[in-house]
């Protein structure tokens, strides 16, 4: 579930509001998105992929964490926007799709992305 919108990093571009398939965000008064319908989050990581400045953190658990994670620590270890980095989006990166050749399954011939 979405845990963090970094106020320090967010440039209020509205991208996450636009792309979230379940319409979790609304634009806050200061432009920073607010999690109006957080319960609808389906942990799909798409907002993290699209945020241009790595301001978002989606936790893999389907329920909210008891206390929000420590943003500084996440920023330090590169966890903010990690999905965007791993799929190779953003300037100067190689698209992850180009590298997606996994081990073949015994009975199949193709690479794995299911």
């Amino acid at each position: 579930m979405i845990e963090i919108v970094s106020r320090e990093r967010c440039i209020a571009c509205d991208k996450c509001i636009e792309v979230c398939p379940t319409n979790v965000f609304d634009r806050g008064a200061d432009g920073i998105p607010v999690l109006t319908r957080r319960d609808d989050c389906q942990t799909c990581f798409m907002c993290e992929a699209y945020c241009p400045v790595d301001a978002l953190f989606v936790d893999p658990r389907s329920h909210p964490l008891p206390a929000p994670p420590d943003e500084r620590a996440l920023a330090r270890d590169g966890s903010l926007g990690a999905y965007r980095r791993q799929i190779g989006w953003g300037r100067g990166r190689t698209p992850g799709a180009k590298l997606a050749v996994g081990p073949a399954l015994d009975r199949s011939t193709g690479p794995l992305t299911s």
């Binding site: 509001i17 636009e18 792309v19 979230c20 398939p21 379940t22 319409n23 609808d40 389906q42 942990t43 799909c44 990581f45 798409m46 992929a49 699209y50 936790d59 893999p60 658990r61 389907s62 966890s79 990690a82 999905y83 791993q86 799929i87 989006w89 698209p95 992850g96 799709a97 180009k98 590298l99 997606a100 050749v101 996994g102 081990p103 399954l105 015994d106 009975r107 199949s108 011939t109 193709g110 690479p111 794995l112 992305t113 299911s114």
Partner: protein
């Protein structure tokens, strides 16, 4: 109130909807595409990615692939359709390559058999936009329009990021591509797929097929819903006390694990069978498998982590609207269906199409449906459209969230849906029928954006009733339908149609017309459903 006109209206902007929009635009139609979420991120292909049923045009290889798939699908598929889908998928993936999709290479050759979700769907959106299609994001459709002869003539809904402003699009041809129904189970990417399209179509009298093959569950870490299955081929499973779970083979593990979980055991996985030299490549192939574990502090190669099974319903299951023409026409004139909203029995028979076949089906059926709708629209004047449908728009008093919870109580538990019994199905159905009567009589509460939630609750209820009714009509176990210990019966090698809302019905369909089928080719290494 916003009003638009189009030749072709496409509802849903996943792979099926985007391929349909491209095909319709290519045929010269003016196209509007409306999605509940955002075309490009919405639906499980965007978040999960798609391995494809991708077979180059070598006649023998294709005949072999089709024959093997027909057998794997419990002989309920349609070989002529399979051949068409393989061929169309191959061509359209060629388009993707020509448009610059960054396929990986191995030994100097491009590998085109699988698509990374975010990249694929971002490119599809761009392509659709460039083709001149009007894209309406966050525009869920709530009901279809018909003309005075009952021909589909558009849709209306609400714009959920514009104060729920109502919208209407009148169109001479309509493609439904609203995905399957995963019952809001939370499986990542699937919560947009609530069976809205099935409900809208059924309100116009559309028939469904294959709904008994809807008990698709997938493994995910217990704390979440990342139902990525392929890496599980490297898993060993253990119980809470560390006892090794004896599974027939890694791919057949699912049934055994379902049994244990249904019996209340905790089951743990660890990918310790993955050869060390493959591990980096595995990570690169599927960041959306590994990153969620990394973030939870789990090293899946080293740590045991608890797993659960999440229902994916007719997303990775098989049932959907019945297709009656090569152009993906439904039984409602003017209404075409593509992707998961349509039955995938034609390519999958009784088994799951996840892991290759669904993705190919979305591409091919989307293309067929888009072309078909454009052709239909070209031969029809601008329709005079009136709204149809009732369960959604009329306001009432029942709480949609309570309805959703009541439906989930019948369909999510493994011991009700994965392991089915006739008594259990009858009891569930009695409760679901009573729920339907209540929501018809009392209406569903909610205004503005809440109308969408009401509609979704009604759609979930209808979906569960079709699934369980069809399940009761199939007195055997076949593919995804596991009924007590009843074995497969040779005399039940036929499809089952289901339909109706207030008075649901089922009827058996005659088997594939033998004259259409290519001669069977025997082969023993039939590929399974690789999810």
């Amino acid at each position: 109130m916003s009003e638009r006109e189009a030749d072709v209206l496409v509802l849903g902007g996943g792979p099926a909807g985007t391929w349909a929009a491209l095909a319709a635009a290519d045929a010269g139609a003016r196209v509007v595409l409306a999605d509940k979420g955002y075309c490009g991120t919405s639906g499980p292909t965007a978040s999960g990615g798609n391995n494809l049923w991708y077979v180059p045009p070598d006649p023998e290889a294709r005949a072999t692939a089709v024959a093997a798939r027909f057998e794997a699908g419990g002989r309920l598929g349609d070989r002529a359709w399979m051949a068409r889908v393989v061929d169309e998928t191959y061509r359209r993936v060629g388009d993707l390559a020509a448009w610059g999709y960054p396929f990986p290479s191995e030994d100097g050759a491009e590998v085109r058999g699988s698509l990374q979700g975010p990249e694929y769907m971002r490119r599809m959106r761009r392509r659709v936009h460039r083709a001149g299609v009007t894209i309406l994001d966050h525009h869920p459709a709530l009901r279809l329009l018909v003309d005075d002869r009952g021909v589909a003539a558009g849709a209306s809904g609400l714009a959920r990021q514009r104060d729920a402003e109502p919208w209407t699009v009148r169109a001479a041809g309509v493609v439904l591509a609203t995905g399957g129904c995963a019952f809001l189970s939370g499986a990542f990417g699937t919560n947009v797929d609530t069976g809205d399209g099935h409900l809208m179509a059924a309100e116009l009298g559309a028939e469904l097929s294959g709904m008994e093959f809807s008990a698709a569950y997938a493994l995910s870490p217990a704390h979440g819903a990342h139902t990525k299955g392929l890496m599980m081929q490297f898993a060993t499973y253990t119980l809470g006390d560390g006892t090794l779970v004896d599974v027939p083979d890694p791919l057949g593990a699912r049934e055994r694990i379902a049994e244990l979980l249904a019996a209340g055991e905790r089951v743990f996985a660890r990918l310790d069978r993955a050869p060390a030299e493959l591990r980096e490549a595995m990570r690169q192939a599927q960041p959306n498998y590994f990153l969620p574990l990394d973030k939870a502090g789990i090293d899946p190669f080293r740590d045991r982590y608890p797993v659960r099974m999440v229902l994916e319903g007719t997303v990775r299951g098989t049932g959907g609207l019945r297709i009656v023409g090569d152009d993906c026409a439904t039984t409602v004139p003017g209404l075409f269906a593509a992707g998961d909203v349509a039955t995938r029995e034609l390519v999958s028979g009784a088994v799951s199409g996840g892991g290759a076949y669904n993705g190919a089906w979305a591409i091919a059926s989307g293309t067929f449906a888009g072309r078909g709708a454009a052709r239909f629209a070209a031969g029809r004047g601008r329709p005079h459209a009136v709204p149809s449908g009732g369960a959604g728009p009329a306001g009432g008093t029942l709480d949609p969230a309570a309805v959703v919870a009541a439906v989930q109580a019948e369909v999510l538990p493994l011991d009700r849906n994965y392991f089915r019994t006739r008594d259990g199905l009858r009891r569930s159905l009695a409760r679901l029928d009573a729920l339907w009567r209540r929501l018809s009589a009392e209406g569903l509460a909610g205004t503005g954006r809440g109308r969408l939630r009401a509609r979704e609750a009604a759609a979930l209820t209808a979906h569960a009733r079709w699934a369980y009714r069809a399940a009761l009509a199939r007195e055997e176990s076949r593919g995804l339908h596991r009924l007590e210990d009843l074995p497969l019966r040779a005399d039940l090698e036929h499809r089952i149609r289901v339909g109706g809302l207030d008075e649901p019905w089922t009827v058996r369909e005659p088997p594939e017309d033998p004259r259409l089928a290519p001669p069977p080719v025997s082969r023993d290494d039939a590929p399974g459903a690789l999810t």
